[in-house]
Amino acid sequence: MAAAEGTHLEQISRAVVEGDREATISGVQAALEANIDPHTILQGALIPAMSDVGRLFEQGEYFVPEMLIAARAMKSGLELLKPLMIGADIKPRGRIALGTVQGDLHDIGKNLVGIMLEGAGFEVYDMGTDVPVDRVVEVIKTEQVDLIGLSALLTTTMPMMESTIQSISEAGIRDQVKVMIGGAPITQEYADKIGADGFAPDASQATRLAVELISK
């Protein structure tokens, strides 16, 4: 049974990594028919596959299109599992609100991070672009998020990251969330300076950072 389970999980994993949505769906269906627990399919195949995709991206073998179709395949498989997991009260890994800071309209990086985070089992609340500081505070108060992810692509808008973190502190809710930041002009040094909990230079590393922060 274990060998058969392993084979099913490997097939699903390979289909996700290859971005093959149809094969992922049929693989998940076959695994369910073989009575493999949905949680095992999720944790043993779908999520590890997305970690592999992230690694391939960081190694320069995969690029954004390959990441996207892999994440899409993963989500297709996840959709089959969700109805079966609701009753089992399986929670998402964490809940993260993502946004591009006030004054910045760039969203490619934010959207890619969101897709990868969903692939890693997070629930993502998209705050959009040009997000006012007050809105971030409101989201923390009302949306029960564990993490805030802020993005800025311009040196002229990155100061809004510091303003946002300050406002969160002034609202007395800084300890309710971890804040991670990213974007072209952002550095670890800047993240440390403004009191962010972490910085990631790309979507794959952002996902690993989110996993690390949520476990703290």
């Binding site: 971005g19 320069g60 690029f63 954004v64 299109p65 390959e66 996207l68 179709i69 899409r72 004054g103 910045d104 309209l105 760039h106 490619i108 959207n111 890619l112 311009l154 040196t155 002229t156 808008t157 072209a184 002009p185 952002i186 550095t187 670890q188 800047y190 230079p201």
Partner: protein, 370 residues
């Protein structure tokens, strides 16, 4: 290398604050040939510095107010004039105004709507269904095309003796397709609908020559050289091919969809400087340099941790080894180390300096570098 128009064939406008204009042009032309007359060329302005130089704080403006601000031709030329007032232009720092509605304006000529920010604008993707692509017809009467003409004419009326007038930032090709379709959606399309991607890519390049010629003719009729946002004039036809979208994709996809566009857009130009926007685009150098009409490169290393230039010395040396003239943007703090490490052939330095005497000192330093 193709024959390039020489100074003797076309008379450049006189710029009062740049008496060394003709000599500067000679240095630029020598740079294209990897030659040095007395020193490498240098521009005392960083990449994208024009975005900060001639602007106002409009962050608090409403959406419509921002658009109005960008569309105010008189104001835009006023702001540019204010930014160069009292300045003397040393080295190969040419004062150039180019009409600017953002890098997605080419997509807007076909019906995309632009959303305006403080320093740039973004197209709102509108090719949702493939049938929407049937609407992609160049409209020279649309508000964006007419506004670029209007900005150009306003500048031409006020430029004499003060500055050059260039043409706008044109991005035919995959950047235009990404603006129409949305960049992440286009990433999916490369796998899901390659034929449709090809169709859009073909549409995005079809009218490029017409659009380029339209503004080139207008400017030359008014005695201008050929120049755009890079501020490097040509007596002939100067173009800045680029493909920022290529940073997201593999070499295979760039070769399939980006290379034919690059081959097409460079063909009729006398001077093409390819804008290499970061290491993501640099991975395509082999393909980019397979096009003989790419005459030079602009290396833009990015900001944040990517900005310090010394980490990019191996890449720049590789470009030199391939015989490619290259523009290098660096901070004054890195200049001495960079000069110590590099040979000057083929390099065009961009350095942001605030002090005129320091500019002159650097020029003297560069003469000793040779």
């Amino acid at each position: 290398m193709e024959k390039r128009e020489t100074q003797q064939e076309i008379t450049a406008p006189e710029i009062e604050a740049m008496p060394q204009f003709e000599m500067a042009m000679k240095r630029v032309y020598a740079w294209y040939e990897n030659e040095i007359i007395d020193r490498p060329p240098i521009r005392f302005m960083a990449h994208n510095a024009f975005l900060d130089a001639a602007t106002e704080d409009i962050a608090h403006f409403s959406r419509n107010q921002k658009k109005s601000w960008w569309f105010d031709s008189e104001l835009q030329v006023d702001l540019f004039l204010k930014s160069i007032e009292g300045r003397r232009f040393h080295g190969e720092t040419f004062p150039v105004y180019f009409p600017n509605l953002g890098p997605d304006v080419y997509a807007a000529f076909y019906g995309a709507e632009l959303e305006f920010g403080q320093v740039t604008s973004y197209s709102i993707p509108f090719v949702g269904q493939w049938d929407d692509a049937d609407q992609l017809i160049l409209d020279v009467e649309n508000e964006y095309f007419k506004k670029i003409e209007d900005l150009t004419m306003h500048a031409l009326e006020r430029c004499e003796g003060k500055f050059l007038v260039g043409y706008t930032d044109l991005h035919p090709g995959l950047d235009c397709v990404a603006a129409w379709r949305d960049p992440l959606q286009l990433c999916y399309d490369l796998y899901d609908y390659p034929d449709q991607v090809q169709r859009l890519a073909d549409l995005a390049i079809t009218d490029f020559e017409f659009i380029y010629n339209h503004f080139d003719t207008l400017l030359k009729k008014h005695g201008q050289l050929s120049v755009s946002w890079m501020g490097i004039p040509s007596y002939g036809r100067m173009h800045i091919p680029s493909c920022d979208f290529s940073a997201l994709i593999s070499e295979r996809f760039f070769e399939d969809f980006g290379l034919p566009i690059l081959q097409s857009e460079t063909k009729s130009m006398s001077h093409n400087i390819f804008h290499v926007d970061g290491s993501g685009v640099a991975k395509h150098l082999d393909v980019i340099l397979s096009v003989p009409e790419v005459h030079a490169l602009q290396w833009v290393q990015g900001v944040g941790d990517n900005y310090p230039i010394m980490q990019w010395v191996p890449l720049i040396k590789d470009m030199q080894a391939r015989g490619m003239p290259v523009i290098v943007d660096l901070s004054i703090d890195d200049l001495n180390d960079f000069i110590a490490e590099m040979d000057p052939e083929g390099l065009f330095l961009w350095v942001a300096i605030e002090d005129e005497q320091e500019e002159l000192d650097i020029i003297n330093r560069l003469k000793k570098w040779v």
